[in-house]
């Protein structure tokens, strides 16, 4: 089986890009993660994850419109590629499989 290397943070970023569909640019992704995953994200961490995944082929990007609020700098929008979608899918499958194979007792025991 082909494996798709995908880190935990990368996965969250990738998912968020999916969630934001068509509106996924730096600040929006950062805000979304901070809101939904309830964790602080630095621009540095985010950008390096984005660039890495673009290099791996999970993401593609295109330049958007310039905006005075951004000091005249254009936004860059990110989209999930088919390859990225497969990576997400695989990660999800693995997790589901693992979830399913946990014996009920183990979880119960944990909860009690």
């Amino acid at each position: 089986m082909k494996t798709y290397p995908l880190g935990e943070f990368e996965e969250i970023v990738l998912l968020t890009v999916g969630v934001l569909y068509n509106e996924a640019y730096g600040v929006a992704i950062k805000d979304a993660i901070e809101e939904k995953a309830n964790r602080k994200v630095s621009v540095g961490a985010l950008q390096s994850a984005l660039k890495r995944m673009e290099k791996k082929g999970y993401l593609e990007s295109k330049s958007g419109e310039a905006n005075t609020q951004r000091g005249g700098k254009p936004k860059r929008y990110y989209f999930i590629t088919a390859y990225g979608k497969q990576a997400l899918q695989q990660s999800r499958d693995i997790r589901t499989k693992l979830w399913d194979s946990i014996p009920k007792l183990a979880l119960d025991f944990k909860l009690s």
Partner: protein
């Protein structure tokens, strides 16, 4: 502002493809954050960019540069792999170098500190201290910094080049300072009298008070923070009252200035400042002869840079001639004026006498330590050279392969230089850490509070980088040349001498050199300690450890009249009290005690002789029992008795007798002498020279002048097994007779041995350095021995099989090194003898260089190297020969 700067930074490092997007995002967040305040937004912006500084987002820095970074990276990678693979040798190299460099850094810091003296004054570069040389018939009689009161005054008035002038005088008479409100009283000695502009010329920072007016009024006092806390327990004491009780110098003073503590790198170290006018008013003798009689004033002047100093000196000489010409002519003397730049005082005042001449360093010591630092560093570099040449043979195959596939010589050299650079850099960073950790230890040794401030000096930084580069080349160049020169054909032939003939002579030479230095250092340390022990244990004629020195009472002087009693009577009561206790053997009052110098220095001549026959002598007052406590050996005459009246006679020492030209002690007896103060003195006795000061200095001419009640100090000879009881008895007696005086005492041996403090410090530093030198040298030896043992594993296996014994094998493995050690020791001796003799020249009373000076270091060395060498040879020799022979290499 910050935002702009940090954005520039981002623009510089960020990959241009990403820059617009990232900067845009940041800007958007920044705008949003502005609602929470400008500061907040900027801070966020700043940290975001710092976090953005990561390789994945950076522009491709190295790809466009002209240097062939690909090859460089390869050197780096291979070097680090090699170093990593040979952890043992790398560790030894790095550790040795790090310790060596660390020592060097510490020494540099120490030198930096010593050179920083007095540079903190704003006008440091234009202040000079006046020196004066007394010459008679072309012979220098004395050179010092104490000049007359008049010289400064007249110089300032009549020489236009002198912009400012400050005089300082010190009278060590033991002042009792009293804060009456808090009932705090102590005896102080470090009180200086200075001209009113002292605080303006020198930049001692005032915590409270105004530098221009602090010393203006007669009853002003300026003190340091520490003293403020000592007497008032806080520092904000401007305008408070403090009382001084010291005979004629007594008075009520107002605190007009509180100084921050005097920096350690100031040659002027005082606790209290009083106006110069005060002492002139109270002690009229300074004004004798219009202020041209007593030379007790250290005088500092300020001159512009472009002034011709020799011209000004000439003008001062003229001033002296006009005012003292007559007097000088009578004594057939000339006085030459000179100037010492303020910043040179600390290191260049050797041999200058003067009251304010403490806290001086010695330039020779500094050069000496610098030399040691360099030598230690060299020892560490030698380790590296030796190890890498020794292992060169192992790497010749690698070189062969590289050459076969096309490496040229220069590339191989780069490879080896990279290795040495890596080791040096690694060592340097550890050395810096070591320095920071060891700084407190150094402070402890030199008794100063140094900080690692070296980085502020650009000279040092350049020097540091330079020596790092130098070390890299020095330690890397030899292996680089030798190894890169091997021809590939030879490299693969296995039948080259197994010991690694290349560089074997160099290696031997270097080991000899290393051990020569180490042996010299050990012998030097031993000599320094021997000399200190010699001085401490020398029989001085009196029992240092059986005498307690008590500060004499001062406050009592003021109440004598009202009580209707005399000081002498008080002393007598005190003595009787003390002697009533069985443990007190004898009590004596005197103006000074051994180890604390003499009270007075001045000219003396036979009565009737002309002034040109005048000799310089020291003098102090003693009472009748003094000669008994200090065990004077009478050559002629008798000790003073209680019946003799005050100041009715003197005892002189042999030295003065000779200087004055009396042929025998008997001849000197009952002769009359004329002191410079116009006192006529009759010689009642001549004694053998008394050890009065540090044994560093020769005996000085001395006068012991009878005065029953000049008790600046009481010497109390005790004989006890219960010291606390004796002391409490002394305290009780003291408090009873002198209830208003503070009870403060010291032990004579402590006082006396304090004179050797700087020698002891020198010895301590020296011993630390020698230990480190040995450590580094032995580290290298250890590595070398283990290497050569590892090469001979098979040989040893075979020898063992054939029946060689353990001791045979160990001898075989280590004899070569002991031979080298022997040569090193042999070479070191002439150096030790030469250096030792020239060092001992500093001491008037010196230990002798005996055979033990050579035996003990040799013994130390043989033991240490035996341990170093035998550890490895033993394990090699003990190994099972079967295992050794099974190894394929």
């Amino acid at each position: 502002m910050i935002k702009k700067l940090i954005t520039r930074f981002l623009q510089w490092f960020c990959n241009p493809d990403f820059y617009d997007e990232i900067q845009g995002d940041l800007e958007e967040i920044y705008q949003r954050n502005l609602s929470r305040g400008n500061h907040y937004a900027q801070r966020k912006y700043f940290f975001q960019i710092i976090i953005l500084f990561r390789p994945s987002l950076m522009r491709p820095f190295f790809q466009k540069s002209i240097i062939n970074t690909g090859m460089f990276r390869s050197y780096l990678k291979i070097s680090s792999r090699i170093l990593w693979r040979q952890k043992f040798y790398t560790t030894i190299n790095v550790l040795g170098l790090a310790v060596g460099m660390g020592v060097c850094l510490l020494i540099c810091q120490y030198i930096y500190f010593e050179k920083s003296f007095d540079r903190f004054h704003e006008k440091a570069d234009s202040i000079y201290r006046i020196t004066q040389t007394a010459i008679r018939n072309g012979e220098v009689l004395a050179k010092g910094v104490d000049v007359t009161y008049g010289l400064g005054a007249e110089g300032k008035k009549s020489i236009p080049e002198v912009k400012e002038m400050v005089r300082i005088v010190k009278e060590d008479i033991g002042y009792i300072l009293i804060n009456e409100e808090k009932h705090v009283q102590h005896q102080e000695n470090n009180i200086w009298f200075a001209d009113a502009n002292f605080l303006e010329m020198f930049s001692f920072p005032l915590k409270y008070g105004d530098p221009s007016s602090a010393l203006k009024e007669m009853y002003n006092i300026v003190l340091t923070e520490t003293m403020a806390i000592k007497y008032f327990s806080h520092t904000d004491i401007f305008g408070e009252q403090i009382r001084i009780s010291a005979g004629v110098y007594s008075g009520e003073f107002v605190v007009t200035g509180i100084l921050e503590n005097i920096p350690e790198n100031s040659h002027l170290q005082f606790d209290f400042l009083l106006p110069l006018n005060y002492i002139l008013e109270k002690d009229r003798s300074y004004k004798v002869g219009g202020g041209w009689f007593y030379d007790s004033f250290a005088t500092y002047i300020r001159m512009d840079d472009d002034v011709d100093k020799s011209l000004v000196a000439k003008k001062f000489d003229d001033v002296i001639l006009t005012n003292m010409g007559e007097n000088l002519k009578n004594s057939n003397m000339t006085l030459k004026t000179g100037f010492q730049p303020l910043t040179a005082i600390h290191l260049h005042s050797k041999g200058l006498s003067g009251q304010v001449s403490e806290n001086n360093g010695d330039e020779n010591d500094i050069h000496f330590f610098a030399l040691i630092g360099i030598f230690i560093l060299i020892i560490a570099w030698i380790n590296y050279i030796n190890l890498s040449t020794a292992r060169a043979m192992q790497r010749r195959k690698e070189v062969g392969v590289r050459k076969s596939i096309g490496a040229v010589k220069s590339q191989l050299m780069y490879q080896f230089l990279t290795e040495s650079a890596l080791i040096n850099l690694l060592a340097a960073s550890i050395a810096i850490m070591l320095t920071i950790i060891l700084m407190p230890l150094l402070n402890n040794l030199v008794d100063h509070q140094l900080n690692f401030t070296l980085w502020q000096s650009p000279v040092f930084l350049v020097g540091f980088l330079f020596s790092l580069a130098f070390g890299t080349f020095l330690s890397g160049l030899y292996p680089a040349f030798i190894l890169s020169g091997i021809s590939p054909v030879n490299a693969f032939k296995t039948k080259i001498n197994y010991h690694g003939k290349t560089g074997i002579n160099l290696r031997k030479g270097l080991i000899i050199f290393q051990f020569m230095i180490a042996v010299t250092l050990v012998a030097g340390t031993y000599l320094v300690y021997q000399q200190i022990q010699f001085m401490k244990q020398k029989d001085l004629g009196y029992e240092l450890n059986k005498i307690l020195v008590l500060n004499g009472p001062r406050v009592v002087l003021e109440s004598l009249k009202s009580e209707g009693t005399t000081l002498l009577a008080k002393y007598q009561t005190f003595k009787n009290h003390l002697l009533s206790h069985h443990s007190v053997a004898e009590v004596s009052a005197s103006g000074d005690v051994p180890g604390k110098g003499y009270m007075f220095e001045g000219g003396i001549r036979k009565l009737g002789d002309g002034k040109e026959m005048e000799k310089i002598t020291n003098a102090t007052f003693i009472d009748a029992s003094f000669s008994q406590i200090y065990n004077f050996e009478f050559l002629a005459g008798k000790p003073f008795s209680d019946e003799m009246s005050n100041r009715s006679g003197i005892i002189i020492n042999e030295k003065l007798r000779q200087e004055l030209g009396f042929n025998s002690p008997e001849e000197a007896l009952f002769q009359k002498l004329l002191l410079v103060t116009e006192d006529t003195l009759e010689i009642k006795a001549v004694v053998k020279n008394v050890y009065w000061n540090s044994l560093k200095n020769p005996h000085q001419p001395g006068i012991y002048w009878l005065d029953h009640d000049y008790g600046a100090y009481f010497s109390i000879q005790f004989n006890t097994t219960n010291l606390p009881e004796t002391i409490s008895h002394i305290e009780k007696s003291y408090k009873k007779v002198f209830p208003n005086d503070p009870f403060e005492f010291t032990f004579l041996d402590e006082d006396f041995n304090r004179q050797y403090k700087s020698d002891l410090q020198f010895g301590k530093l020296f011993s630390v350095f020698s230990v480190l030198a040995i450590l580094i040298a032995c580290l290298g030896l250890f590595a070398l021995v283990s290497f050569s043992a590892s090469l001979r594993i098979k040989e040893i296996g075979i020898r063992k099989v054939l029946g060689a014994s353990m001791s045979n094998l160990m001898f075989l493995l280590s004899k070569e090194y002991f031979l080298l050690l022997a040569v090193a020791i042999f070479l070191a001796f002439p150096i030790v003898i030469f250096w030792g003799n020239s060092w001992l020249e500093n001491f008037a009373f010196k230990t002798e260089i005996g055979i033990d000076l050579f035996l003990i270091p040799t013994l130390v060395f043989i033991v240490i190297s035996l341990i170093t060498v035998s550890y490895k040879t033993f394990s090699t020799a003990k190994a099972n020969p079967v295992k050794a022979l099974k190894v394929e290499n």
